[in-house]
């Protein structure tokens, strides 16, 4: 495997590939470093990827396990777990038409087993946790991650502990508890939950997927980029629109493209990266607008709860990425988010949760602002399923209420002109 060590993103200090996430020298975050020079020639590598399983493990060469992917062929970790990734990339002509764009695509990560992109990161973190000998999974979650951790733990037979803010959508709580996890609802917001779990991670011998396993977890988001490139016949889109909570997905998608560009597996240049936040929790978009390279934390107040991280640890890297790729980070209101959900649903048949409403609304905003050329190839990243945030679309449509007779239906569906006139 090509993973070499963990490396501090701030000072470059190196550490072994263990359950470490913070640099002891400067407190910076650690990231997996690879030596891709040891990989096979490009044609062989490409063939191996194409012949691989239809999940994140087809990209095992770029993921941080020390052994082969989990599954029956792996003596150390024989249970494969929840299959994540290889989700559809669909052409969205009708959405494009509405926005005056000719080449819009949707990467539909709601199609993952627990209906969000979090299955990808949990697949990697939980496999590495098993390699390292952990016997329990845990996480601090805004909801989607909790679903993914609880499901994965059930599939691989480990106990799990999911910490969430107590005010989450009921669908996300139910969709976690059903897997038999230890669900802990914390009185506080996500940043409180994250602080608590960071303290607990030092006291408990658990694999907190997004804390002490975070360097491995974050690598899973690269597979979104790999799939998009492969699904576009080994080419790059011109632009991506991606939601930002902590900034990890946004920055790791770019890292995925850059790894393949460096190797020569794909050609071209890094796509323009547009980040999307909700105005009710927009620490990264605000810092972008103010020209700052750090984020001032905020207290979240938005319907986009899966993006409600007021203290985004990867914020500085997200800001840097938006600027160096020629992109931006924009924010949209709760009403625009609701309209975004409906716009995507009406034009693509994809029902997304509030985070997808945020990305769709930001895409619409960029198009209206004239930031996107009509012929640009744009990929909209949809990270989760609308069934997780049903309240967001309550009242967004009207239905007919009729008796079970043809007359009643005919009267309701197309009121007679005379009757309509009479009513006026």
């Amino acid at each position: 495997m090509a993973a070499e060590n963990l490396k501090c993103k701030e000072c470059g200090a190196e550490y072994p590939l263990e359950a470490l996430y913070v640099c002891e020298r400067c407190f910076g975050p650690l990231e997996v470093a690879y030596d891709h020079n040891r990989l096979d020639d490009l044609a062989t590598l490409r063939r191996r990827i194409q012949a691989g399983s239809q999940d994140v493990w087809r990209y095992a060469d770029f993921l941080p396990l020390s052994g082969p992917p989990p599954g029956p062929g792996n003596r150390q970790i024989p249970l494969a777990g929840v299959p994540a990734g290889w989700t559809p990339l669909v052409r969205a002509e009708r959405l494009g038409e509405r926005l005056g764009l000719s080449d819009v695509w949707v990467k539909n990560d709601a199609a993952n087993p627990t209906h969000s992109f979090k299955d990808r990161v949990v697949a990697i973190a939980s496999a590495r946790a098993r390699e390292l000998g952990f016997d329990a999974l845990a996480c601090a979650s805004t909801g989607n991650l909790g679903n993914a951790v609880a499901a994965q733990a059930a599939a691989i037979g480990l106990p799990s502990y999911v910490f969430v803010p107590a005010d989450l959508e009921e669908q996300k709580l139910l969709g976690t508890g059903v897997y038999g996890t230890n669900l802990v609802e914390v009185r506080g917001n996500y940043d409180d939950v994250n602080r608590l779990c960071t303290e607990l991670a030092a006291e408990r011998d658990w694999a907190f997927v997004n804390i002490n396993m975070r360097p491995y977890y974050a690598e899973g988001s690269k597979t979104v980029a790999f799939e998009i490139a492969e699904q576009l016949s080994w080419s790059l889109p011109d632009r991506l629109v991606v939601p930002i909570a902590s900034g990890s997905l946004f920055t790791k998608i770019a890292r995925g493209f850059e790894e393949w560009l460096d190797l020569g597996l794909i050609e071209g240049q890094l796509p323009v990266m547009n980040g999307a936040q909700a105005t009710g929790c927009a620490p990264v978009a605000s810092a972008y607008a103010a020209g700052q390279d750090f984020c001032q934390p905020v207290k979240p107040n938005t319907i986009a709860k899966s993006l409600a991280i007021g203290n985004p640890a990867d914020g500085p890297y997200a800001l840097d990425l938006a600027r160096r790729s020629g992109g931006s980070i924009d924010a949209v209101t709760d009403d625009e988010i609701r309209a975004g959900i409906v716009l995507l649903a009406e034009t693509t048949g994809i029902f997304t949760e509030t985070a997808g409403g945020v990305s769709t609304a930001v895409l619409a905003q960029l198009a209206a602002r004239g930031d996107i050329d009509r012929d640009e190839r744009v990929v909209l990243v949809i990270t989760g399923d609308g069934l997780k945030t049903l309240d967001a679309v309550r009242g967004s449509y009207a239905s007919l209420h009729i008796d079970a007779t043809v007359e009643s239906f005919e009267e309701s569906i197309a009121p007679a002109p005379m009757a309509a006139t009479a009513a006026v």
Partner: protein, 91 residues
């Protein structure tokens, strides 16, 4: 005024393994100064050259991030708890 400072696992090598240290101070910067006095190695790890905190260091007084309070000037009551933690991306 005695303040309990909770030391994160990644910094315990600099405190001889101690997970909690008691120091004197009436504000966050006084508490940190007293802490650095006792464990010199901590200074270079969590503060940058000009005396402010490195950007991935989060400090909490009684559970609240000091960036929502008065930053390094935040008063710390006698018997209060100050927590130092690395910033970690969420999910």
């Amino acid at each position: 005024m005695a303040v309990a400072v909770k030391i994160p696992a990644a910094l315990r090598a600099a405190t001889g393994g101690a997970s909690e240290v008691s120091v004197e101070g009436a504000t966050v910067s006084e508490v940190l100064a007293a802490l650095f006095e006792q464990f010199g190695e901590l200074r270079e790890r969590i503060s940058d050259g000009d005396g402010s905190l490195r950007r991935f260091v989060n400090v909490y007084v009684a559970g609240e991030d000091i960036r929502f309070l008065e930053g390094l000037d935040t008063p710390v009551a006698d018997g209060a708890e100050l927590t130092i933690l690395p910033a970690v991306a969420g999910g």
